[in-house]
């Protein structure tokens, strides 16, 4: 069946077409038509993805490839607009189109009252299209197009409610900080082109092994530069500061872009270029270390937030940290698996948060929520499922299986270490505390705000579907001592090499699983103690000055914003403002002044007073005489 693969280009083209139509005609057509174009284009893309996926699974080709046109060709540099679909891209496009489609449906209700309904869907479609290009590109330049395209959409959607200057600030912050990473990545592309004469991903992957030995300097530098791009987009240390502020956008945006898809682009990039990273063990170590540190920093920051969406934002940073941790030890498929599961439950949590925010008249402060368990039962149960998955609640939640795999490979994997494992385990503990802190504050206790808008089907259905996926998604990949299902890693095995496990370590696996379960449950219990059964414990923390200082430090995201503000932003703005009138121009103005001065001096001598002229002639004559005598 070749026909199906010929439709490959339609997957990104449809959302682009939707966006284009909405930009051109969005203001002139009815809301119903906007909805149809906006959600329909992504829906059809999802359907094509599904058909293609079924065909892919049944016929098992290595990959699908389609060249749409040759982008340009200069001196042997000829990137194409061409798509390459293999198992890794398949996982990503599946998540992008399906989760994207659900979020589009959800948005029809969430954004129903908004005056800029069509602009919203235009941006969302543009985003889905760009993201699909990013993960389907067969060369790094096209990937870069998608990469920057999603950055643009992120900017447009964070600043969607543009009348609030703070939103615009957050939007620009996101764009500029990610662009810092992109710049590193661009330099990486220059180096890759210099080394290989092409940016075609498959060619680079096959030739890199022949060109470089493990640890070759070029490979290391390139891997670090690509990592720069990845940390920018994925909100990892040290470029993580934009992501919490990105929550200024409408909640469906946070769910789709800043949780489920775009922020995992860095994970995709590293997995896609894994050959380069394997040649650079130092860079791999850096990936793991960045992941470990980020997941802890963001986890502790999440503990102290009061804004529901900010908790989730820090939690996203922290969970992507887990993905980096997995990638860093070479557990490629574990990282991608956690990406998929995370996309389900994090989108679910954000959408639930959106439903709450909508019901409470755009109130985001958790301290003003409470008691929503009874007033919003569907949201409560689905949120609970998402929270269980995030906190890796043992056995029943998908998050348990994906996170457990990562933790296990930190110890059992060849490149793992006790330190990375310890960081991951501590992170898991913190995760379950902040997750259930959120659950208990929001849904238990007494109601503090009146519930306005009750969600209808357009909100409930996506929640329920994502809830089911967050529960059952984990069962396609089970540990070998517990069911031993390896559907997911098998699916990815042609693309991503399996991690080599230290022999003879398997017998301890159950102990680690029990430990992970205990940590998760322990975290939930602590949250229960502090926020439900014994509030006096919390009060005692609030009385301690040291604890509150730490609290403020974590609340500010470990002071990174302030650091960058003092080190970079202020000096730059100062420099720009101080030189607003351009000092170089001063030189030319000065030159003009000097000329003018001479002019004034000489014109003063033209006074018309005869005796001055006579005096001048006499003095001149004397001078000439003197000179001629002495010379």
């Amino acid at each position: 069946m070749k026909a199906m693969a010929d439709l490959l280009w339609l997957i990104p083209a449809l959302p682009f077409a939707g966006a284009l139509l909405l930009v051109l005609f969005g203001n002139r057509i009815s809301r119903g038509l906007v909805t149809a174009i906006g959600t329909g284009s992504v829906g059809v893309s999802a359907a094509i993805t599904l058909l293609l996926g079924i065909e892919y699974l049944s016929s098992q080709p290595a990959y699908y490839h389609q060249e749409v046109w040759n982008w340009f060709s200069v001196a042997g540099f000829n990137p194409s607009i061409a798509f390459h679909l293999d198992a890794l891209s398949m996982v990503f496009i599946f998540v992008i189109t399906f989760v994207g489609f659900l979020i589009h449906i959800y948005s029809t209700e969430y954004m129903a009252e908004d005056a800029d309904y069509s602009r919203f869907f235009a941006c969302m479609n543009l985003f889905v299209g760009s993201m699909l290009v990013l993960v389907m590109a067969d060369n790094l330049l096209l990937l870069y197009l998608g990469w920057e395209g999603v950055g643009l959409c992120s900017y447009l959607l964070i600043g969607f409610w543009y009348k609030e200057p703070a939103n615009g600030y957050a939007a620009r912050k996101a764009f500029i900080i990610t662009r810092v990473g992109d710049t590193a990545m661009a330099i990486g592309l220059f180096m890759l082109f210099q080394a290989f004469g092409t940016l075609h991903i498959q060619t680079i992957s096959t030739e890199a092994v022949q060109l470089w030995d493990t640890g070759a300097q070029m490979a290391v530098i390139i891997a670090f530069l690509l990592l720069g791009g990845a940390v920018g987009k994925s909100g990892q240390l040290p470029l993580q500061t934009w992501l919490p502020d990105a929550m200024a956008g409408p909640t469906p945006v946070s769910a789709l872009i800043h949780a489920a898809t775009m922020v995992t682009a860095g994970v995709y990039l590293i997995a896609r270029m894994h050959v380069i990273f394997e040649l650079a063990p130092v860079a791999m170590m850096a990936v793991a270390a960045i992941g470990a540190v980020t997941l802890l920093i963001a986890g502790f920051a999440a503990l102290t937030q009061y804004d529901l969406k900010r908790v989730l934002a820090y939690s996203t940073i922290s969970q992507i940290g887990y993905m980096f941790l997995a990638l860093g030890v070479g557990a490629w498929s574990a990282g991608v698996f956690h990406f998929m599961i995370h996309a389900f439950f994090k989108a679910l949590l954000f959408l639930c948060a959106g439903a709450i925010i909508l019901a409470l008249h755009h109130e985001q402060d958790m301290r003003k929520m409470g008691g929503l368990r009874t007033s919003m039962p569907v949201v409560f149960w689905t949120f609970l499922i998402g929270a269980a998955s995030l906190a890796a609640f043992p056995l029943v939640s998908a998050g348990f299986y994906s996170k457990d795999q990562i933790l296990w490979l930190q110890l059992a994997g060849e490149n793992g270490s006790v330190w990375l494992y310890a960081a991951g385990l501590l992170g898991a503990f913190v995760t379950s505390i902040y997750t259930f802190r959120m659950v208990f504050i929001t849904f238990y206790g007494e109601a503090k705000t009146h519930v306005g808008h009750q969600p209808t089907m357009a909100i409930k259905v996506p929640l329920i579907i994502l809830g089911v996926l967050s529960l059952l998604g984990g069962f396609i990949e089970l540990p070998h001592n517990f069911g031993h299902v390896v559907l997911f890693s098998d699916f990815l095995s042609p693309i991503l090499p399996a991690v080599s496990v230290v022999p003879g370590f398997d017998q301890y696996e159950w102990m680690l699983q029990v430990l992970a379960a205990v940590v998760s449950l322990g975290g939930i219990y602590i949250a229960y103690l502090f926020y439900l059964s014994k509030p006096e414990l919390l009060a005692s923390i609030h009385r301690s000055n040291t604890a509150m200082a730490v609290h403020r430090f974590w609340h500010s995201g470990w002071g990174f914003d302030k650091l960058y503000d003092t080190l970079l932003v202020r000096p730059y703005v100062f420099l720009a403002n101080v030189n607003k009138r351009d000092v170089i121009d001063g030189f030319y103005t000065g030159l003009a002044r000097v000329a003018e001065g001479f002019h004034m001096m000489l014109s003063d001598t033209q006074s018309g007073v005869l005796r001055n002229y006579v005096a001048g002639i006499v003095v001149g004559a004397i001078m000439i005489l003197t000179i001629s005598i002495f010379l």
Binding site: L152, K163, V573, I584, F587
Partner: protein
């Protein structure tokens, strides 16, 4: 002969427009529109009719040669290759745009305005076509004087200062170029006995290294001031911000490109050794320009001044790429010339639209225009994104090719140039934020959205910048033979260097002389 007609139509159209004002007030507009359409049509015809096979054989598509002052060796010599064809397309397209935006904006001395406009275009056309250095200098001056009038008569408040400054900078640097041209003329004459200003003849001049360096600086003076390169840029913000919209569009879109064109056409082939010697410094100047222009753009509050400084920053890429001496970078430079012409031209046009409505260029007095004028907002968004180098739009191709190319030549400077992209993001987003997003601090009068005449100007520019971003191949193909020609002296060549007679295959009229091209004997191998 076609090439002469291009210039004649513009000059005659200009005179006619000036005279026609006596008969009917609106007639100059239509005459100008007609002349530019005629030239644009002719170049588009040339472009489409040009069989691509010709491009491979010889870079020259059309030649015209007429002795002018034979005793001095001056001839009226014009020639068209892919590079000049591209530049002409840009010239006439932006010329057309310039006429359309002035339709309502220019109300006094309409005839004289269009005379100046058409003569500037004629001068630019001449600069892009001529193959005689004397004639080149002549056209270089023809561009200058009408531009001086355009700024000085129809400009904003501080127009006299800006016009003088523009004139003095360009004139002073142009005189240095004249000295260098004469120097080259006499050196070549004393060597060979034939005194000529012909470009192709002068290409074969053997120069002592010191003489080459000095003469190159003469040419560089004119081109670097025009481009402009920091620290010779300071005429540009004043001229751009004080000029009427059409003037700003022509300044940013075309006049700056004559500097870039001069570097490609004259500096590289005439002084290959000296250029290599100077290259690291030139690239350094480029990077300084990229960063310095970006920082200054960030703090400006006058919208046109802001856009003017972004030009300084973007033109830094041109000199960076030119002195990287490889095909990737040079193709990037050619792309940059065209895409910058479109994107910056469009930003000046937007500033003009805003000025017509609000009578201010101060962005502190603007704000929240997205809700009032959504069409204008979308147009602005596209060109702001183009100016920060978003992939999918033409400027990205230009900057990426330039940087990939310059990376091969100099890693450290390329890194700094790439950092310039982050700064470009900062100043570009500031435009969107201050003008379209953030509510204004002061009360705003009504702001009507773009009219259909204005959309007629903006839409083709958007289409153009998208086309250049998604399928730039036609442009690259057209520029390729010229770019390779300019690079001949820089890459080790295995080609036979004996004299090869090549006939230009495209001869529309019999008056076109058949030209025998002599490939250069100088080869220079870069280390």
């Amino acid at each position: 002969m076609i090439l002469v007609w291009l210039i004649v139509i513009l000059m005659a159209g200009g005179l006619l427009a000036w005279l026609a004002q006596r008969w009917h007030r609106a007639s100059p507009r239509w005459i100008a529109l007609g002349s530019v359409l005629a030239t644009l049509g002719t170049t588009v015809y040339l472009w489409l009719a040009m069989p691509s096979a010709t491009l491979g054989a010889s870079p020259w598509l059309l030649q015209y040669d007429l002795p002018w002052i034979p005793q001095w060796g001056v001839s009226f010599s014009l020639a068209l290759d892919g590079l000049s064809l591209l530049m002409l397309l840009l010239t006439f397209f932006l010329g057309l745009v310039a006429i359309l935006i002035s339709w309502k904006e220019i109300k006094n001395k309409v005839g004289f305005f269009h005379f100046n406009l058409l003569w500037v275009l004629a001068g630019i056309t001449g600069v892009f076509l001529t193959m005689d250095l004397f004639l080149f200098y002549f056209f270089w001056e023809v561009m200058l004087i009408p531009m001086y009038f355009m700024i000085g008569i129809w400009g904003h408040e501080n127009r006299n200062y800006a016009a003088y400054k523009f004139f003095i900078f360009t004139q002073a640097s142009g005189l240095l170029m004249l000295l260098a041209i004469l120097g080259l003329y006499f050196i070549h004459g004393s060597q060979t006995g034939t005194y000529t200003f012909n470009y192709f003849a002068l290409l074969n001049t053997a120069l002592a290294p010191e003489a080459a360096l000095l003469l190159m600086f003469g040419f560089l003076a004119a081109f670097l001031v025009k481009l402009p390169v920091v620290p010779f840029h300071s005429w540009l913000p004043d001229a751009h911000s004080e000029a009427p919209t059409a003037g700003s569009v022509i300044l940013a879109g075309l006049l700056l490109k004559t500097g870039a064109y001069g570097l490609l056409r004259f500096v590289l082939p005439l002084f290959p050794t000296a250029a290599v010697e100077f290259a690291p410094w030139a690239m350094l100047l480029g990077v300084i320009g990229i960063i310095y222009g970006a920082i200054l753009a960030f703090s400006q509050t006058d919208l046109k001044r802001l856009v003017a400084y972004t030009s300084v920053s973007h033109m830094g890429f041109v000199i960076l790429g030119v002195f990287a001496f490889n095909e990737l970078a040079l193709q990037g430079v050619v792309m940059q010339m065209i895409t910058h012409g479109l994107s910056t031209g469009a930003l000046f046009i937007l500033a003009g639209f805003l000025y017509e409505r609000l009578h201010t260029r101060d962005i502190r007095l603007m704000g929240g225009f997205w809700s009032k004028a959504p069409k204008m907002g979308v147009v602005a968004l596209v060109f702001v994104m183009a100016s920060l180098g978003l992939p999918g739009l033409g400027n990205f191709i230009a900057e990426f090719l330039t940087l990939v190319g310059s990376w091969q030549a100099n890693n450290v400077l390329t890194i700094f140039a790439t950092i310039g992209l982050v700064m470009a993001t900062a100043y570009s987003l500031r435009i969107m934020q201050k003008v379209f997003y953030e509510p204004a601090a002061v009360e705003q009068p009504e702001l009507p959205d773009l009219t259909s005449r204005e959309m007629l100007i903006a839409a083709p520019m958007i289409a153009g910048i998208l086309w250049l971003g998604l399928y730039p191949q036609p442009v690259l193909d057209l520029a390729k033979p010229s770019v390779q020609e300019q690079l001949q002296s820089f890459v080790p060549s295995v080609e036979n260097k004996t004299i090869v007679g090549r006939q230009t295959a495209f001869t529309t009229t019999t008056t076109d002389t058949v030209y025998f091209q002599i490939t250069k004997g100088i080869t220079y191998e870069r280390k």
